[in-house]
Symmetry: C2
Subunit: 188 residues, 2 copies
DNA sequence: TTGATATTATACCACACGGTATAGAAAATA
DNA sequence: TATTTTCTATACCGTGTGGTATAATATCAA
């Protein structure tokens, strides 16, 4: 139980800094202080390790998102909670979120992208559900849930990326600004 | 002269679809119908090949950008030309631009990111120059050239990425909308 | 204690990796 | 024609890759 977590943690760090393809299984094992068979015992193969690293770290974010996306007929409030959930997770788990971002922007045939695809999809579906519910109160949004979900997610990741490049800070003011910008993009 | 271009073209395609680390020199040589020593004769090593692919494809974009960024005291017009230059290049050279995007979002210690960094920097400097000039006519922009350049570029790449995912189209209407959104973000 | 199961290390496999020494052609120069 | 330079192929190198067969050890239930 201890070694498994250790391997996950070391793999995350290495994948995040240098990328999945550039890191060998050997190196992960060495950094974790174990040997390859131990790693293969827990994760089957390298791809399985990547998927476990991604999924088990994403779960924490997803539970926060599900809580935040609870729609109570106040869209700006809900969006604020959702975006805040993203920003605080990105701020508290930068190593993970950097890896995730690099994965979803990877080439379409790469292992990284294929592994990240389902995670991305789950977020989109969740956001779509939110916008479908919101369309009940805002008729002019009806039928647009897909582009809304896509562009909200794109905006969130853009802001996070800019934060990681030290160009902005993910404080409350930024959150409001982002949502304002998003809403303005919708209703125009 | 023929083999060199052929290698560049094949490498671009493979890097764009599967990523730099996942593609071997052997495979590039096979696809180009030549052998490894030929490749190493022209590019020295794998990293040199990547840099050549990136730089020689970027040059076409840069000349278009330099022409577009010529500021004649009409910021909206200049921005429209710049964004249009980006969008049309992304539309006409999707294989290249996909590779470029995946590179700038790669992990910071990866070869891909390190190779893309200078190209990204050149674009930022060019855009900063534009905003510095524009600040002569729009006093309230003064001193903000850096965040403006960063966020314009981020927005452009976000739109391009959404186009590649078939969520939007990069037509004239989208261009105006993007600029409108950017200007609104600035003056608020 | 016994037996089964889960976990770990040693040692190894075939293979692909990036890269090169050597030398043969081809082309240009003298 | 002789010579030099550019370009290309054969064949190879050491190393590291993802992955595994085997067996020892630890854990735990009966």
């Amino acid at each position: 139980m201890e070694n498994r977590e250790l391997i996950l943690e070391c793999a995350l760090e290495l994948f995040s800094h240098r990328g999945y393809d550039a890191v060998g299984v050997q190196e992960i094992a060495e950094k974790a202080g174990i040997t390859k068979p131990t790693l293969y015992h827990y994760f089957g193969n390298k791809r399985g390790l990547l998927e476990s690293v991604l999924k088990e770290n994403y779960l924490k974010l997803e539970t926060a998102l599900l809580k935040a996306a609870d729609y109570r007929r106040d869209l700006p409030l809900t969006l604020h909670r959702v975006v805040s959930a993203y920003f605080s997770h990105a701020a508290n788990h930068p190593v993970f979120y950097r890896m995730y971002i690099s994965m979803i922007y990877s080439p379409p045939e790469s292992e990284s992208f294929k592994a990240a695809m389902p995670v991305l999809q789950r977020q989109l579906e969740m956001l779509e559900q939110l916008f479908i519910k919101a369309a009940g109160d805002h008729g002019n949004m009806r039928g647009r849930h897909k582009p809304y979900a896509v562009s909200l997610l794109a905006m969130v990741n853009t802001y996070i990326q800019m934060c990681y490049s030290n160009h902005i800070q993910l404080n409350n003011e930024t959150t409001f600004k982002a949502i304002h910008q998003f809403m303005h993009g919708i209703f125009s």
